[in-house]
């Protein structure tokens, strides 16, 4: 599990170019699924079939894209200007290492003025339009290699902290993709009444676009969305964060199916799987929001893996929560076999 998560997190999959990672994910999915397809939006969709006609479809969702940057200009000296794709806090950008995905991958650093040269009354505000990437190439050398519109991703490093806690880039939401892989592994020998459809989706960071397309095509009877939730840290309120290592957060609120989410909580309780409650009074900001109103409406469950420092290059999670999430989902899928119709009724 750890190896998968590490490999997946260090891969680049910016919104719109998830094809960089789609092959890798397809390959892993193929080991445990009966069929794997990649759709027009680069969504990777693995199916565990039943052999039963018109069987119910339980679809699992985890987005595979990551926040990124894009080349907006190349100046006469070869310095590269950029904008953000998805929610990037400009304050994390100084001295950051990046990969520019041009004709080939080019390494660069985001420059910063050394303290010796800063003037006392100079504004310290970090403005993304004023930052630049240094790749050590001249304008002439760049021609034909990097163009305006090329993607830029962050270069991260996997590190292991104390207490089974790890830090890397893009754990939002490769942790979710890893949970899907663990669930398909766990269920691979089961014969179930319902099809299980595992979806690694795209363009979540720019507006839940991949999942919207995918749900329309797949038409699930139940969708379980796995994403990252805000981890506990000083400066944030306890009621909007989850404690690392205390289990996945189960979403409750109008975005989630009321009967099924109650059933999921009861299942966790009865089976001693650690969990936390994620109270969501409205838009969860996750794919659950778009899937719920796809076609004629889809019952949705939301499971969030507590993750600190979201949208930085040092996103931090507990591996225990990944394991507990997979255990919760695979157990729950078994638990509701044959009862889905009944549970869906309101």
């Amino acid at each position: 599990m750890k190896d998968n998560l590490k490999t997946l997190s260090l891969f680049s999959a910016p919104p719109g170019r998830e094809d960089f990672a789609a092959n890798l994910i397809s390959e892993i999915f193929s080991k445990y699924c009966d069929s794997v397809t990649v759709d027009n939006f680069n969504n990777v969709c693995g199916i565990k079939k039943t052999g039963i006609e018109n069987s119910k479809k339980i679809a699992l969702y985890a987005h595979m894209d990551e926040i990124a940057l894009m080349v907006t200009d190349i100046d006469n000296h070869g310095f590269i200007s950029f904008i953000s794709i998805g929610g990037v806090d400009p304050r994390i950008l100084l001295s950051q290492e990046v990969i520019i995905h041009g004709k080939r991958e080019v390494y660069g650093v985001i420059g910063t003025k050394p303290p010796h040269l800063q003037i006392d009354n100079e504004s310290k505000e970090i403005i993304i339009e004023k930052l630049y990437i240094d790749i050590g190439m001249t304008r002439e050398q760049i021609n034909g290699i990097i163009r305006v519109g090329d993607y830029i991703t962050f270069k991260g490093k996997w590190i292991e902290l104390q207490n089974n806690i790890v830090s890397s880039k893009s754990l939002d939401n490769r942790a979710g993709v890893t949970v899907l892989i663990e669930v398909m592994k766990e269920l691979s020998e089961d014969s179930l009444d319902s099809q299980i459809i595992f979806n690694a989706t795209t363009q979540e960071e720019v507006g839940l676009r991949g999942a919207t397309i995918n749900a329309y095509t797949v038409e699930p009877d139940l969708a379980i969305v796995v994403d990252a939730g805000f981890g506990d840290m000083s400066g944030l309120d306890k009621d909007e964060t989850f404690i690392l290592g205390k289990g996945p957060a189960i979403g409750i609120g109008p975005n989630m199916h009321p009967v099924l989410s109650k059933e999921l909580i009861n299942y966790a309780k009865q089976n001693n799987i650690p969990y936390q409650i994620d109270v969501e009074p409205g838009n969860t900001g996750t794919e659950a929001w778009t899937i719920q109103i796809s076609k004629i409406g889809v019952p949705v469950l939301l499971i969030s893996i507590p993750l600190r420092y979201m949208h930085t290059t040092v996103e931090t999670i507990s591996l225990d929560d990944v394991i507990a999430s997979a255990k919760l989902i695979s157990g729950f899928i078994r638990h509701i076999q044959g009862r889905l119709e009944e549970l869906m009724c309101l």
């Binding site: 806090d89 910063t112 050590g136 590190i159 292991e160 830090s167 420092y309 040092v314």
Partner: protein, 341 residues
Amino acid sequence: MLIKELTLAEGISGDEFDIRNKIKTEINNNLFDVFTDSMGNLFATKKEKKESINVMVTAHMDEVGLMITLINDNGTLKFKTIGSIDERVLASKRFFIGPQLIPGVIGTKPIHLLEGDEKKQPLKAKELYIDIGCNSKEQAQQLVQPGDYAYFDTEFIEMENQMIKSKAFDNRVGCSLIIDLLMENYNINLQACFTAQEEIGSRGAGPAARRIKPDCTIILEGTTCCDVPHTEGHNIVAKINGGPVISIIDKATIANRKFFDFVTEIAKKNNIKYQIKEGIYGRNDSAPIQASENGIPTIVISVPCRYIHSPSSVMSLNDYNETAKLIKALLNELNYEIIGG
């Protein structure tokens, strides 16, 4: 590559053990007397003495970094900076802490939960903390202590066009140059010194100069160069691929003019491209050395480095090679007449 080994070694001011040991290993041969002093300066002097002037060549081996000041109840670590660091570079970075090199990260609030114009407010070091994954003070105390040093966890990267990226080019580039120099013979008595604690105010250099009492000193540095967008005129200080940077003035010293003219002449004579440091910025070991004893003629020669004092500094190996050439030429031609006796 020697410069890679040297930049990845640990050595924040006052904690130069690792870098000092690495350098010792490199220069360990029976041609030199190698010794250290109470400040942590490391000396290497040629055993064979010539009837000539004593030239001290120095480079500071310490780097900027962090020091742990407190372990919070929730197991996270508070810190202060050592040396001059733009605190805005700390967010979203990795560190190694203490003698056990415990990994940790400095994260920030998710962008989704920022309020008002919080995004416009630069992050201050005192708002940040290091997370090592511990969930209690008791657990963290088993691994780190207040007073432990925290190092940037960064990789050495070979970029395009002979450019390289790492931490601490300021001033492992100077250390690397000296190690190269020591392998050759000159007509002068070469006294090398790798100094300690430059980044907190050139603390090691004065005692070193007063021990060696050289006739003159060449200070080797990795100096700032800011030839980047939104910076103009003399504020760029120096240019990448512009060759060695020769200082005529900085915030604390004015170069000995005869020495300065001699260096530029030697550069011209040997067809070595050089640049004169523009603007009046920074200070270094030349200040305490110049003011030591009865006054010691000094010259500062630097390799231009972009983004110094950050985990992602960038420099050119071309500049390194040109600087090495210039210093070797200098050492071959320096004599009493130049220094003015």
